[in-house]
Symmetry: C2
Subunit: 214 residues, 2 copies
Protein backbone atom coordinates (compact mmCIF):
# COMPACT_ATOMS: atom_id res chain seq x y z
CA UNK A 1 0.00 0.00 0.00
CA UNK A 2 1.36 3.38 -0.97
CA UNK A 3 1.39 6.02 1.74
CA UNK A 4 0.20 9.29 0.22
CA UNK A 5 0.47 12.28 2.50
CA UNK A 6 0.60 14.45 -0.64
CA UNK A 7 -1.80 14.62 -3.56
CA UNK A 8 -1.19 13.10 -6.96
CA UNK A 9 -2.57 14.98 -10.00
CA UNK A 10 -2.13 13.90 -13.59
CA UNK A 11 -2.62 16.11 -16.64
CA UNK A 12 -3.81 14.56 -19.88
CA UNK A 13 -4.72 15.66 -23.37
CA UNK A 14 -3.60 15.51 -26.98
CA UNK A 15 -0.53 17.27 -28.34
CA UNK A 16 -0.82 21.04 -28.12
CA UNK A 17 -3.43 21.00 -25.36
CA UNK A 18 -1.24 23.07 -23.03
CA UNK A 19 -0.29 20.54 -20.35
CA UNK A 20 3.19 21.92 -19.69
CA UNK A 21 1.94 25.48 -19.39
CA UNK A 22 -0.80 24.40 -17.01
CA UNK A 23 1.62 22.31 -14.94
CA UNK A 24 3.79 25.36 -14.28
CA UNK A 25 0.77 27.52 -13.49
CA UNK A 26 -0.54 24.95 -11.00
CA UNK A 27 2.86 24.72 -9.38
CA UNK A 28 2.90 28.51 -8.84
CA UNK A 29 -0.67 28.53 -7.56
CA UNK A 30 -0.17 25.62 -5.13
CA UNK A 31 3.10 27.02 -3.85
CA UNK A 32 1.31 30.31 -3.16
CA UNK A 33 -0.73 28.21 -0.69
CA UNK A 34 2.53 27.06 0.92
CA UNK A 35 2.24 23.56 -0.52
CA UNK A 36 5.31 21.62 -1.72
CA UNK A 37 4.94 20.66 -5.39
CA UNK A 38 6.93 18.34 -7.66
CA UNK A 39 6.42 18.66 -11.42
CA UNK A 40 7.18 15.56 -13.45
CA UNK A 41 6.22 13.84 -16.67
CA UNK A 42 5.69 10.49 -18.36
CA UNK A 43 7.19 8.63 -19.93
CA UNK A 44 10.20 9.76 -17.91
CA UNK A 45 10.63 11.70 -14.71
CA UNK A 46 13.80 9.93 -13.52
CA UNK A 47 17.16 9.29 -15.19
CA UNK A 48 16.39 5.68 -16.16
CA UNK A 49 12.78 6.41 -17.10
CA UNK A 50 13.92 9.29 -19.32
CA UNK A 51 16.23 6.83 -21.10
CA UNK A 52 13.17 4.65 -21.74
CA UNK A 53 11.32 7.76 -22.98
CA UNK A 54 14.07 8.48 -25.50
CA UNK A 55 13.86 4.92 -26.85
CA UNK A 56 10.11 5.10 -27.32
CA UNK A 57 9.81 8.65 -28.67
CA UNK A 58 12.70 9.06 -31.05
CA UNK A 59 12.46 8.01 -34.66
CA UNK A 60 14.88 5.12 -34.84
CA UNK A 61 15.64 2.82 -37.73
CA UNK A 62 14.12 -0.07 -35.78
CA UNK A 63 10.46 -0.94 -35.53
CA UNK A 64 8.82 -0.74 -32.09
CA UNK A 65 5.40 -2.37 -32.19
CA UNK A 66 2.47 -1.14 -30.12
CA UNK A 67 2.82 -3.94 -27.59
CA UNK A 68 6.50 -3.22 -26.99
CA UNK A 69 5.69 0.49 -26.70
CA UNK A 70 3.09 -0.32 -24.03
CA UNK A 71 5.57 -2.46 -22.05
CA UNK A 72 8.16 0.31 -22.14
CA UNK A 73 5.56 2.85 -20.95
CA UNK A 74 4.70 0.68 -17.95
CA UNK A 75 8.34 -0.15 -17.17
CA UNK A 76 9.12 3.58 -17.16
CA UNK A 77 6.04 4.13 -14.97
CA UNK A 78 7.16 1.52 -12.43
CA UNK A 79 10.60 3.14 -12.19
CA UNK A 80 9.02 6.59 -11.95
CA UNK A 81 6.65 5.48 -9.19
CA UNK A 82 9.35 3.74 -7.12
CA UNK A 83 12.00 6.43 -7.43
CA UNK A 84 10.04 9.68 -7.55
CA UNK A 85 6.24 9.64 -7.25
CA UNK A 86 5.76 7.38 -4.20
CA UNK A 87 8.64 8.95 -2.21
CA UNK A 88 7.42 12.48 -3.02
CA UNK A 89 3.85 11.67 -1.97
CA UNK A 90 5.07 9.95 1.19
CA UNK A 91 7.08 13.09 2.01
CA UNK A 92 3.92 15.17 1.73
CA UNK A 93 4.52 16.78 -1.67
CA UNK A 94 1.91 17.34 -4.29
CA UNK A 95 2.94 15.60 -7.50
CA UNK A 96 1.77 17.05 -10.82
CA UNK A 97 2.49 14.57 -13.59
CA UNK A 98 2.24 15.33 -17.30
CA UNK A 99 0.54 12.08 -18.48
CA UNK A 100 -0.01 8.80 -16.61
CA UNK A 101 -1.85 5.51 -17.31
CA UNK A 102 -4.83 7.25 -18.93
CA UNK A 103 -2.38 8.30 -21.67
CA UNK A 104 -1.46 4.65 -22.24
CA UNK A 105 -5.17 3.84 -22.52
CA UNK A 106 -5.68 6.68 -24.99
CA UNK A 107 -2.50 6.46 -27.11
CA UNK A 108 -1.52 2.79 -27.08
CA UNK A 109 -5.05 1.50 -26.48
CA UNK A 110 -7.45 3.65 -28.53
CA UNK A 111 -4.74 5.09 -30.77
CA UNK A 112 -2.75 1.99 -31.66
CA UNK A 113 -5.20 -0.79 -30.88
CA UNK A 114 -3.51 -2.49 -27.91
CA UNK A 115 -6.11 -4.58 -26.06
CA UNK A 116 -7.66 -2.84 -23.04
CA UNK A 117 -7.30 -6.07 -21.01
CA UNK A 118 -3.53 -6.05 -21.48
CA UNK A 119 -3.32 -2.39 -20.42
CA UNK A 120 -5.59 -2.99 -17.42
CA UNK A 121 -3.59 -6.01 -16.27
CA UNK A 122 -0.32 -4.09 -16.57
CA UNK A 123 -1.79 -1.17 -14.64
CA UNK A 124 -2.87 -3.59 -11.92
CA UNK A 125 0.57 -5.21 -11.81
CA UNK A 126 2.44 -1.89 -11.69
CA UNK A 127 0.25 0.42 -9.59
CA UNK A 128 -2.88 -1.28 -8.30
CA UNK A 129 -2.31 0.65 -5.08
CA UNK A 130 -1.98 4.10 -6.57
CA UNK A 131 -3.95 6.10 -9.13
CA UNK A 132 -3.94 9.89 -9.43
CA UNK A 133 -6.27 11.50 -6.92
CA UNK A 134 -7.44 13.79 -9.72
CA UNK A 135 -6.84 13.80 -13.46
CA UNK A 136 -7.40 16.91 -15.56
CA UNK A 137 -8.00 16.29 -19.26
CA UNK A 138 -7.24 19.37 -21.34
CA UNK A 139 -9.70 19.08 -24.20
CA UNK A 140 -9.58 20.82 -27.53
CA UNK A 141 -10.27 19.99 -31.19
CA UNK A 142 -7.50 17.92 -32.75
CA UNK A 143 -6.86 20.40 -35.59
CA UNK A 144 -6.32 23.20 -33.07
CA UNK A 145 -3.85 21.11 -31.06
CA UNK A 146 -1.93 20.14 -34.17
CA UNK A 147 -1.77 23.79 -35.29
CA UNK A 148 -0.22 24.76 -31.94
CA UNK A 149 2.35 21.97 -32.20
CA UNK A 150 3.36 23.01 -35.72
CA UNK A 151 3.85 26.59 -34.53
CA UNK A 152 6.27 25.66 -31.77
CA UNK A 153 8.55 23.17 -33.50
CA UNK A 154 9.70 22.10 -36.92
CA UNK A 155 9.97 18.37 -36.29
CA UNK A 156 7.89 16.18 -33.99
CA UNK A 157 8.49 12.86 -32.25
CA UNK A 158 7.06 9.45 -33.19
CA UNK A 159 3.63 10.40 -31.83
CA UNK A 160 3.46 13.83 -33.39
CA UNK A 161 3.92 12.08 -36.74
CA UNK A 162 0.50 10.46 -36.39
CA UNK A 163 -2.45 11.68 -38.43
CA UNK A 164 -5.67 13.45 -37.43
CA UNK A 165 -7.67 10.22 -37.15
CA UNK A 166 -5.18 8.82 -34.63
CA UNK A 167 -5.60 11.88 -32.40
CA UNK A 168 -9.38 11.78 -32.85
CA UNK A 169 -9.32 8.28 -31.37
CA UNK A 170 -7.10 9.52 -28.52
CA UNK A 171 -9.40 12.45 -27.79
CA UNK A 172 -12.53 10.26 -27.89
CA UNK A 173 -10.90 7.85 -25.45
CA UNK A 174 -10.19 10.66 -22.99
CA UNK A 175 -13.82 11.84 -23.24
CA UNK A 176 -15.07 8.32 -22.63
CA UNK A 177 -12.70 7.77 -19.67
CA UNK A 178 -13.94 11.04 -18.15
CA UNK A 179 -17.52 9.83 -18.51
CA UNK A 180 -16.69 6.49 -16.86
CA UNK A 181 -14.60 7.85 -14.01
CA UNK A 182 -16.31 11.16 -13.45
CA UNK A 183 -15.06 11.53 -9.87
CA UNK A 184 -11.36 11.25 -10.66
CA UNK A 185 -11.28 12.69 -14.18
CA UNK A 186 -12.31 16.29 -14.89
CA UNK A 187 -12.51 17.84 -18.34
CA UNK A 188 -11.00 21.30 -18.83
CA UNK A 189 -11.70 23.43 -21.91
CA UNK A 190 -8.25 23.92 -23.42
CA UNK A 191 -9.37 26.32 -26.16
CA UNK A 192 -9.47 29.15 -23.62
CA UNK A 193 -6.60 31.51 -22.78
CA UNK A 194 -3.90 29.92 -20.56
CA UNK A 195 -4.89 32.06 -17.52
CA UNK A 196 -8.50 30.88 -17.77
CA UNK A 197 -7.40 27.26 -18.21
CA UNK A 198 -5.31 27.61 -15.04
CA UNK A 199 -8.21 29.19 -13.13
CA UNK A 200 -10.59 26.42 -14.18
CA UNK A 201 -8.00 23.77 -13.32
CA UNK A 202 -7.52 25.28 -9.84
CA UNK A 203 -11.29 25.27 -9.40
CA UNK A 204 -11.29 21.57 -10.32
CA UNK A 205 -8.80 20.69 -7.57
CA UNK A 206 -9.83 23.26 -4.92
CA UNK A 207 -11.63 20.62 -2.84
CA UNK A 208 -8.28 18.81 -2.41
CA UNK A 209 -6.59 21.75 -0.68
CA UNK A 210 -6.06 21.49 3.08
CA UNK A 211 -8.75 23.11 5.25
CA UNK A 212 -8.37 26.87 5.39
CA UNK A 213 -7.03 27.15 1.83
CA UNK A 214 -10.32 27.35 -0.02
CA UNK B 1 2.04 -16.20 -37.96
CA UNK B 2 5.80 -16.10 -38.20
CA UNK B 3 7.32 -17.67 -41.29
CA UNK B 4 10.36 -19.68 -40.23
CA UNK B 5 12.41 -21.10 -43.04
CA UNK B 6 15.37 -21.20 -40.62
CA UNK B 7 15.66 -22.79 -37.20
CA UNK B 8 15.55 -20.93 -33.90
CA UNK B 9 17.74 -22.26 -31.09
CA UNK B 10 18.04 -20.68 -27.66
CA UNK B 11 20.79 -21.36 -25.14
CA UNK B 12 20.03 -21.14 -21.44
CA UNK B 13 21.82 -21.64 -18.16
CA UNK B 14 23.16 -19.84 -15.15
CA UNK B 15 26.13 -17.48 -15.21
CA UNK B 16 29.37 -19.27 -16.11
CA UNK B 17 27.63 -22.18 -17.85
CA UNK B 18 29.47 -21.52 -21.11
CA UNK B 19 26.66 -20.24 -23.37
CA UNK B 20 28.81 -17.80 -25.35
CA UNK B 21 31.51 -20.39 -26.00
CA UNK B 22 28.91 -22.92 -27.11
CA UNK B 23 27.17 -20.35 -29.35
CA UNK B 24 30.40 -19.75 -31.26
CA UNK B 25 31.11 -23.48 -31.54
CA UNK B 26 27.61 -24.16 -32.89
CA UNK B 27 28.01 -21.36 -35.40
CA UNK B 28 31.22 -22.93 -36.70
CA UNK B 29 29.70 -26.40 -36.80
CA UNK B 30 26.50 -25.32 -38.58
CA UNK B 31 28.42 -23.21 -41.08
CA UNK B 32 30.55 -26.26 -41.88
CA UNK B 33 27.26 -27.77 -43.07
CA UNK B 34 26.78 -24.73 -45.33
CA UNK B 35 24.00 -23.33 -43.15
CA UNK B 36 23.64 -19.55 -42.59
CA UNK B 37 23.79 -18.75 -38.86
CA UNK B 38 23.06 -15.57 -36.90
CA UNK B 39 24.35 -15.36 -33.32
CA UNK B 40 22.46 -13.02 -31.04
CA UNK B 41 21.60 -12.54 -27.39
CA UNK B 42 18.96 -11.35 -24.94
CA UNK B 43 18.26 -8.95 -23.57
CA UNK B 44 19.60 -7.13 -26.61
CA UNK B 45 20.49 -8.16 -30.13
CA UNK B 46 19.55 -4.86 -31.82
CA UNK B 47 20.57 -1.26 -31.18
CA UNK B 48 17.39 -0.33 -29.27
CA UNK B 49 17.17 -3.65 -27.44
CA UNK B 50 20.80 -3.30 -26.33
CA UNK B 51 19.88 0.11 -24.89
CA UNK B 52 17.17 -1.63 -22.89
CA UNK B 53 19.73 -4.25 -21.83
CA UNK B 54 22.03 -1.54 -20.50
CA UNK B 55 19.20 -0.05 -18.43
CA UNK B 56 18.31 -3.38 -16.84
CA UNK B 57 21.81 -4.76 -16.26
CA UNK B 58 23.85 -1.83 -15.06
CA UNK B 59 23.96 -0.87 -11.42
CA UNK B 60 22.18 2.47 -11.39
CA UNK B 61 21.27 4.64 -8.45
CA UNK B 62 17.59 4.02 -9.18
CA UNK B 63 15.56 1.03 -8.08
CA UNK B 64 14.16 -1.24 -10.81
CA UNK B 65 11.65 -3.63 -9.32
CA UNK B 66 11.18 -7.19 -10.59
CA UNK B 67 7.99 -6.30 -12.45
CA UNK B 68 9.63 -3.42 -14.31
CA UNK B 69 12.59 -5.64 -15.09
CA UNK B 70 10.21 -8.22 -16.59
CA UNK B 71 8.47 -5.59 -18.75
CA UNK B 72 11.81 -4.34 -20.06
CA UNK B 73 12.88 -7.90 -20.89
CA UNK B 74 9.72 -8.47 -22.94
CA UNK B 75 9.90 -5.05 -24.61
CA UNK B 76 13.49 -5.80 -25.66
CA UNK B 77 12.32 -9.24 -26.85
CA UNK B 78 9.55 -7.75 -29.01
CA UNK B 79 12.03 -5.35 -30.63
CA UNK B 80 14.54 -8.18 -31.10
CA UNK B 81 11.93 -10.44 -32.69
CA UNK B 82 10.61 -7.78 -35.08
CA UNK B 83 13.94 -6.39 -36.17
CA UNK B 84 16.26 -9.40 -36.15
CA UNK B 85 14.92 -12.85 -35.24
CA UNK B 86 11.81 -13.04 -37.43
CA UNK B 87 13.50 -11.50 -40.52
CA UNK B 88 16.53 -13.80 -40.13
CA UNK B 89 14.35 -16.91 -39.81
CA UNK B 90 12.21 -15.81 -42.76
CA UNK B 91 15.40 -15.41 -44.81
CA UNK B 92 16.34 -19.01 -44.00
CA UNK B 93 19.02 -18.37 -41.38
CA UNK B 94 19.50 -20.39 -38.27
CA UNK B 95 19.27 -18.11 -35.23
CA UNK B 96 21.23 -19.01 -32.10
CA UNK B 97 20.10 -16.82 -29.24
CA UNK B 98 21.86 -16.55 -25.88
CA UNK B 99 18.78 -16.56 -23.58
CA UNK B 100 15.08 -16.14 -24.42
CA UNK B 101 11.77 -16.36 -22.53
CA UNK B 102 12.88 -19.38 -20.46
CA UNK B 103 15.45 -17.01 -18.91
CA UNK B 104 12.65 -14.64 -17.90
CA UNK B 105 10.83 -17.58 -16.32
CA UNK B 106 13.97 -18.63 -14.48
CA UNK B 107 15.46 -15.26 -13.44
CA UNK B 108 12.47 -12.94 -13.01
CA UNK B 109 10.01 -15.74 -12.20
CA UNK B 110 11.81 -18.29 -10.00
CA UNK B 111 14.66 -15.95 -9.08
CA UNK B 112 12.79 -12.76 -8.23
CA UNK B 113 9.28 -14.03 -7.60
CA UNK B 114 7.37 -12.46 -10.50
CA UNK B 115 4.09 -14.37 -10.95
CA UNK B 116 4.21 -17.08 -13.65
CA UNK B 117 0.81 -15.90 -14.95
CA UNK B 118 2.19 -12.44 -15.70
CA UNK B 119 5.19 -13.91 -17.52
CA UNK B 120 2.99 -16.33 -19.47
CA UNK B 121 0.57 -13.60 -20.51
CA UNK B 122 3.42 -11.35 -21.66
CA UNK B 123 4.97 -14.25 -23.60
CA UNK B 124 1.61 -14.84 -25.28
CA UNK B 125 1.23 -11.13 -26.11
CA UNK B 126 4.76 -10.79 -27.50
CA UNK B 127 5.48 -14.09 -29.25
CA UNK B 128 2.56 -16.52 -29.13
CA UNK B 129 3.47 -17.44 -32.71
CA UNK B 130 7.12 -18.18 -32.14
CA UNK B 131 9.08 -20.18 -29.58
CA UNK B 132 12.56 -21.60 -30.09
CA UNK B 133 12.49 -24.85 -32.04
CA UNK B 134 15.02 -26.21 -29.58
CA UNK B 135 16.39 -24.91 -26.28
CA UNK B 136 19.66 -26.18 -24.84
CA UNK B 137 20.07 -25.70 -21.09
CA UNK B 138 23.71 -25.78 -20.05
CA UNK B 139 23.54 -27.26 -16.58
CA UNK B 140 26.19 -27.15 -13.89
CA UNK B 141 26.35 -26.68 -10.12
CA UNK B 142 25.87 -23.05 -9.09
CA UNK B 143 29.17 -22.86 -7.19
CA UNK B 144 31.05 -24.01 -10.27
CA UNK B 145 29.36 -21.38 -12.47
CA UNK B 146 30.06 -18.62 -9.96
CA UNK B 147 33.71 -19.69 -9.75
CA UNK B 148 34.05 -19.40 -13.53
CA UNK B 149 32.45 -15.93 -13.51
CA UNK B 150 34.78 -14.70 -10.77
CA UNK B 151 37.79 -15.93 -12.77
CA UNK B 152 36.88 -13.98 -15.92
CA UNK B 153 35.92 -10.59 -14.48
CA UNK B 154 36.40 -8.43 -11.45
CA UNK B 155 32.93 -6.86 -11.32
CA UNK B 156 29.61 -8.34 -12.34
CA UNK B 157 26.26 -6.88 -13.43
CA UNK B 158 23.04 -6.62 -11.41
CA UNK B 159 22.39 -10.35 -11.80
CA UNK B 160 25.89 -11.52 -11.03
CA UNK B 161 25.51 -9.70 -7.71
CA UNK B 162 22.87 -12.20 -6.62
CA UNK B 163 23.66 -14.91 -4.08
CA UNK B 164 23.90 -18.68 -4.38
CA UNK B 165 20.29 -19.26 -3.34
CA UNK B 166 19.05 -17.01 -6.16
CA UNK B 167 20.95 -19.05 -8.74
CA UNK B 168 19.81 -22.32 -7.13
CA UNK B 169 16.22 -21.18 -7.77
CA UNK B 170 17.15 -20.28 -11.36
CA UNK B 171 18.82 -23.65 -11.94
CA UNK B 172 15.89 -25.56 -10.43
CA UNK B 173 13.50 -23.69 -12.68
CA UNK B 174 15.48 -24.67 -15.77
CA UNK B 175 15.45 -28.32 -14.65
CA UNK B 176 11.72 -28.18 -14.09
CA UNK B 177 11.05 -26.48 -17.45
CA UNK B 178 13.10 -29.18 -19.16
CA UNK B 179 11.00 -31.85 -17.45
CA UNK B 180 7.76 -30.15 -18.55
CA UNK B 181 8.77 -29.40 -22.12
CA UNK B 182 11.01 -32.36 -22.82
CA UNK B 183 10.62 -32.12 -26.59
CA UNK B 184 11.81 -28.55 -26.95
CA UNK B 185 14.21 -28.28 -24.01
CA UNK B 186 17.32 -30.49 -23.79
CA UNK B 187 19.72 -30.53 -20.87
CA UNK B 188 23.45 -30.43 -21.62
CA UNK B 189 26.09 -31.26 -18.99
CA UNK B 190 28.10 -28.04 -18.78
CA UNK B 191 30.74 -29.40 -16.38
CA UNK B 192 32.44 -31.16 -19.33
CA UNK B 193 35.21 -29.68 -21.49
CA UNK B 194 33.97 -27.11 -24.06
CA UNK B 195 34.62 -29.49 -27.00
CA UNK B 196 32.47 -32.19 -25.40
CA UNK B 197 29.73 -29.68 -24.58
CA UNK B 198 29.72 -28.61 -28.23
CA UNK B 199 29.62 -32.24 -29.43
CA UNK B 200 26.70 -33.06 -27.15
CA UNK B 201 24.90 -29.88 -28.18
CA UNK B 202 25.30 -30.76 -31.87
CA UNK B 203 23.96 -34.25 -31.10
CA UNK B 204 20.93 -32.59 -29.47
CA UNK B 205 20.08 -30.59 -32.61
CA UNK B 206 21.24 -33.09 -35.28
CA UNK B 207 17.65 -34.10 -36.09
CA UNK B 208 16.97 -30.49 -37.15
CA UNK B 209 19.61 -30.49 -39.89
CA UNK B 210 18.40 -30.72 -43.49
CA UNK B 211 18.31 -34.22 -45.00
CA UNK B 212 21.78 -35.42 -46.04
CA UNK B 213 23.53 -33.52 -43.24
CA UNK B 214 23.26 -36.16 -40.52
Amino acid sequence: MTITAGKFISLEGIEGAGKSTLARALQVALRSHGLPVVLTREPGGTVLAERLRAIVLERAGEHINAGAETLIMFAARAIHLDNLIRPALAAGSWVICDRFTDATRAYQGAGRGVRAELIDSLAAAVHADLWPHRTLVLDLPVEQGMRRVRQRQATGDRFEDEDVRFFERVRSCYLSLAATEATRIQMIDATLAPELVAQNAMAAIRDMLPAGHL
